[in-house]
């Protein structure tokens, strides 16, 4: 498995995302730029310029028509994927930490940072998909501020009107965004800040990663913890591999404490864990800094990781990955 190294960022990666078809990969970084790449050969298709601060987050709709991005310049932007034009800009008092499209592409949820006396706020915008996309309503359709620990990650669930959130305290919760009411919560889901949240294809379960060195699979309806994967390093990202019973975990010691631990300890590797048996299956090394974000191709044929070192590595799985059955012929539902 020879990785394709994408060298288009000057600073550490913050999030990467495949589109629904898996032919494009969006990456955003602290250098204010968003890049889009062809996944099959690593060629850069283009960039989305305009942000004036660290771009924390991106998401793309299912038709690969619109893309949204959130940045530390307090803006949420809507882009035309094909032309690279910024269609609309929302301004907030604080930085945008997370954005996500809904299943039907008609809504976008975003989290803004808790800072300078402003509370952490979750807003849901309706996206006007008619016309050229520049006519959007300035005001959010729904808006609320969760009480207690601030939210760090969020996503729409399969239930209408409900979003799933992960919090700084390690809590995960379900919110009804129309009323702002907390429907359900698991205060003890993690012991430290939740760093990533990725949904399963049908959105019935999700995986969260945390600085408490573990990743967990939750039922998005009941918030039950289904599986726990405990590693020896703080985790920044976790992803679910479709069609294969694996999850991918990435992380590493904080840059400031790296000098006190040995680099050879394998803390900057992508770890493959068996989703059901909760065992580590293998590791892929390559990054020379902590891994900040991992994404898997929607069909499960490749995956990409973005690191603190400023590189994105795209790995196409070898034939043997699909053929071998290291655990025998057990039928595992996706």
């Amino acid at each position: 498995m020879r990785p394709i190294l994408l060298q288009g960022h000057e600073r550490s990666l913050t999030q990467i995302k495949y589109n629904r078809d898996g032919d494009l990969l969006f990456s955003c970084s602290k250098d204010h730029v968003i890049n889009v790449w062809y996944t099959h050969n690593g060629e850069r298709l283009g960039t989305y310029d305009g942000h004036n601060g660290t771009v924390w987050t991106v998401d793309v709709d299912s038709e690969s028509m619109y893309m949204v991005s959130g940045s530390a310049d307090n803006q949420l932007r809507l882009w035309n994927v094909a032309t690279g034009k910024c269609l609309y800009t929302w301004e907030f008092p604080t930085a945008v930490k997370r954005v996500a499209f809904s299943e039907d592409d008609k809504q976008v949820v975003c989290i803004t940072e808790q800072r300078m006396g402003f509370q952490c706020t979750i807003r849901v915008f309706n996206i006007n998909r008619t016309g050229d996309g520049t006519k959007q309503s300035k005001e959010p359709a729904h808006m609320f501020s969760p009480v207690g620990s601030k939210a760090t990650v969020c996503a729409f669930t399969s239930q209408p009107g409900i979003i799933f959130t992960g919090h700084e305290s390690g809590k995960v919760a379900l919110f009804n965004y129309k009323t702002g009411e907390e429907v359900d919560s698991n205060e003890r889901a993690h012991g430290d800040v939740v760093t990533d949240l990725q949904m399963s294809p049908d959105k019935t379960y999700c995986i969260t990663s945390s600085k408490d060195k573990s990743a967990r699979i939750h039922d998005t309806k009941t918030l039950d913890v289904i599986k726990t994967f405990t590693t020896e390093t703080p985790l920044n990202s976790a992803a679910i591999a479709p069609n294969k019973p694996y999850v991918l975990l990435g992380g590493g010691q904080e840059a400031m404490s790296v000098t006190t631990t040995s680099l050879r300890q394998g803390k900057f590797e992508t770890r493959f864990w068996h989703k059901v048996f909760e065992e580590e299956v293998g590791r892929v090394k390559g990054h020379f800094g902590p891994i900040n974000t991992i994404a898997v191709h929607p069909k499960g044929i490749s995956y990409a990781s973005g690191g603190e070192d400023g590189f994105v590595r795209v790995h196409h799985f070898d034939e043997s990955y699909f053929k071998t059955q290291p655990y025998g012929d057990l039928q595992i539902e996706d």
Partner: protein, 736 residues
């Protein structure tokens, strides 16, 4: 005043009995401060004065002073001679007790030994019933079997782990057989230590040393040496040496007895104890006061060196002599030390297995055995003084005959390394060049088993930092370096080293280089206790922590005694594996030589403390990263009980034996597999059930869109359309 006169009249009648009773002076009728001293020489009047002076002197020398006036000597008027006993008064019963303890059985002179008794008891003795009464048989309490762990049916070894404030003892065997053996609740101790044959485990407390053992891990013995810091067992586990940096103080009112320090031990630091009885044998001061030419020397530990058969213990007074004490009396052997001008260090020659068999035979036959046990041997060295060269001497003991001497020149330091069977002695000589600027190394190897002790010299250009004999073998390994950083250690400096193996060439009878591994960082050599396998480790470095596993007989199927190696010289060395244990501080083989333990102790640093177990090929079996991990120690095993013939038999029929074990392994792995498979099947079933439930719920909840979409996706046709949009066209003129 009629009333008053009346009172006066009656004064005689007043009852004073209550007051008298209150202030009555008790007349001390007992004689508990009086002792009878028996065994005094019978003398006539003329010598009386001299005898009394002598006795007083003798008593005060032992710390129980007595005045001449307090001694009463009965006199036989008829003969004009003394009666051979006398009475002694002490100030109180406490002093009398002390005198009794100190002077009873005291040898006054060659013919007279004092016997002391309490005066009170004389009556008792006089009226003693002379008829013999059968003493009641003390019920026999069988002691626990102290070597019970050796009877483990699976033949596992044990190890102890000290972490935080907790100690745990584990069994180590096949993966399914590793389990906790015992978790003691020992409190407040410095560290733990096994005895050399694994019988006891010692803990060092404020009050002294405690030994534990047996299947119940009950306390077996204790030695009251306050603030003890170091201990050392004798090789056969008969004695123990303890050391504390604080001098011994015996406060008043301390318990007395053979297990405790007495006033004459005050000021000393070293103590020798008998393990079985718990009695104190002797104490020594540590000669830390003597300062070498290079300022204060670090104390050597062990300060007392035991002969391999526990018969003698010796210590060196640097520059002067070696004092050898006999056991168990701890008297100086032959009443004099070995006076050796300038002696620096010495080592006892270890006993080979054969010697040991002989010693045991002699011991079992008793004094009648015609053959005498082989003598012990000491090797020592003296540095260059004035015109005299440095010298290494082999001395036979107790006959004190010099067996071999070798003169050496330009010596700055010597280290004596015995091979563990006592076949070879290697003297590692650090020599300086004439300018004294650089140091190089010579290895002077004495072949002890041959006539006249031939010496062979291996000259090296570099400095040797570590030397190690292969146990029971004819090979050794050295770590050498010419790194300029040697000698000025600093943080982050790892010294580059070379590791070389040498072997005795049976044909030429000299040691030849087998192989050199250049450009390493290894600084520790650890031979497997059975020989053949060796681990090279980089210990105590903050950047490197490699472990290299080597096999020195890789091409040999199995080595037989006396078989001559015919292959190319050095071709049988093979690397088995490489491993890494970050921050490793200790590397130790288990007694069977099959497993290796590496540990990173919190006593040295606090990064990733813990321990790891490896097999001899460098495969990691277990790794435990634990905060505040301190100590890992394998439990040593005593020598095998099988005779040479039995061992040979086993080696011959190895196939038969191994088949049984292989079957066992097979069964075990199958067992593990089926268990694991069952577990996995269960997990998969649970997962699938949950997935089915949640997808069903999803469908019911009106996730119709999703289902619909899925269908539409299947119907989808793939059409490839190239869209080319010109977004912007900019014309720029480029000027040259």
């Amino acid at each position: 005043m009629p009333g008053l006169t009346q009172n006066v009249d009656n004064i005689e009648d007043i009852d004073y009995s209550d007051i008298e009773a209150k202030y009555k002076v008790d007349y001390d009728g007992s004689f508990d401060n009086t002792l009878i001293v028996d065994g005094v020489p019978i003398i006539d009047n003329s010598k009386l004065e001299r005898l009394l002076t002598k006795i007083c002197k003798e008593f005060s020398r032992k710390g129980v002073p007595v005045k001449q006036d307090d001694i009463f000597m009965p006199w036989d008027e008829a003969t004009g001679k003394s009666k051979g006993y006398l009475f002694m008064d002490f100030r109180n019963s406490h002093d009398a007790n002390n005198a009794l303890l100190a002077m009873n059985n005291h040898p006054f002179d060659a013919k007279h030994i004092f016997k002391l008794n309490r005066f009170d008891e004389i009556e008792k003795f006089a009226n003693m019933d002379e008829t013999y009464v059968e003493p009641e048989q003390e019920e026999y309490m069988p002691r626990e079997h102290l070597r019970a762990w050796l009877t483990d049916p699976q033949g596992r070894d044990q190890y102890v782990v000290y972490r935080g404030d907790d100690v745990e003892i584990f069994w180590h065997g096949k993966p399914s057989q590793c389990e906790l053996a015992y978790k003691p609740d020992w409190k407040d101790f410095l560290y733990v230590s096994w005895s050399p044959l694994g019988t006891y485990i010692a803990t060092l407390h404020r009050q002294g040393v405690r030994l534990w053992g047996g299947p119940s891990w009950k306390p077996q013995q204790r030695f009251a040496h306050p603030l003890v810091k170091l201990i050392d067992f004798s090789p056969c586990e008969n004695y123990i040496v303890t050391w504390s940096n604080e001098s011994i103080i015996v406060p008043d009112g301390k318990p007395q007895g053979p297990q405790y320090f007495s006033p004459e031990d005050e000021g000393n630091n070293l103590a020798v104890w008998d393990i079985k009885t718990g009695h104190l044998l002797r104490t020594f001061p540590t000669n830390s006061g003597t300062e070498g030419p290079a300022g204060k020397r670090q104390m050597q530990w062990p300060a007392l060196k035991w002969s391999p058969d526990d018969k003698f213990v010796a210590r060196v007074s640097p520059g002067q002599m070696i004092s050898v004490h006999e056991l168990p009396s701890m008297f100086l052997h032959d009443k004099k030390s070995l006076k050796i001008e300038g002696v620096v260090d010495f080592e006892w020659c270890p006993l080979s297995d054969k010697d040991r068999d002989e010693v045991e035979k002699v011991a079992s036959v008793g004094a009648k055995g015609a053959k005498k046990a082989p003598e012990n041997m000491i090797a020592y060295w003296t540095p260059e003084v004035a015109n005299q060269p440095a010298r290494v001497t082999l001395l036979s003991f107790p006959s004190r005959t010099i067996l071999r001497q070798k003169n050496l020149f330009n010596v700055s330091e010597c280290k004596l390394h015995w091979q563990n069977q006592g076949d070879f002695l290697c003297v590692k000589v650090d020599r300086h060049t004439k300018t004294k600027k650089s140091i190089f190394c010579n290895l002077e190897i004495f072949r002890v088993r041959e006539k006249d002790f031939p010496v062979e010299v291996v000259e090296l250009k570099d400095t040797v930092t570590d030397f190690s004999w292969e146990p029971k073998g004819e090979r050794f390994a050295i770590v050498s370096t010419n790194d300029p950083n040697l000698g000025n250690p600093g943080p982050g400096i790892t010294i580059k080293t070379d590791v070389s193996f040498y072997q005795l060439d049976r044909v030429k009878n000299d040691f030849k280089l087998l192989k050199t591994l250049p450009n390493r960082t290894s600084n520790a050599i650890r031979w497997s206790p059975r020989g053949r396998f060796v681990v090279l480790a980089t210990v105590g470095s903050s950047t490197k922590s490699e472990l290299e596993f080597w096999d020195l007989d890789f091409t040999l199927e199995d080595r037989r005694d006396g078989q001559v190696v015919k292959e190319d010289w050095g071709s049988s060395i093979q690397s088995l594996g490489l491993a890494d244990h970050y921050g490793v501080t200790d590397v130790e083989w288990d007694p069977s030589g099959r497993y290796l333990a590496t540990s990173a102790s919190a006593w040295t640093h606090t990064l990733e403390n813990g321990y790891a177990l490896w097999d001899f090929r460098g495969q990691e079996l277990l790794k435990q990263i634990q905060d505040r991990f301190k100590q890992f120690l394998w439990r040593p095993r005593p020598r095998t009980l099988l005779t040479r013939e039995q061992q040979k038999q086993i080696r011959k029929n190895l196939k038969e034996f191994s088949r049984v074990f292989e079957e066992e392994d097979q069964r075990e792995s199958e067992n593990v597999n089926t268990e694991l498979l069952a577990l996995r099947r269960r997990l998969v079933d649970e997962w699938n059930a949950w997935r089915a439930r949640s997808t069903k719920e999803l469908a019911e909840d009106g996730g119709h869109d999703h289902v619909k979409e899925k269908q539409s996706e299947e119907d989808k046709e793939e059409i490839e359309v190239w869209v080319e949009d010109i977004i912007e066209q900019i014309e720029e003129e480029v000027e040259d």
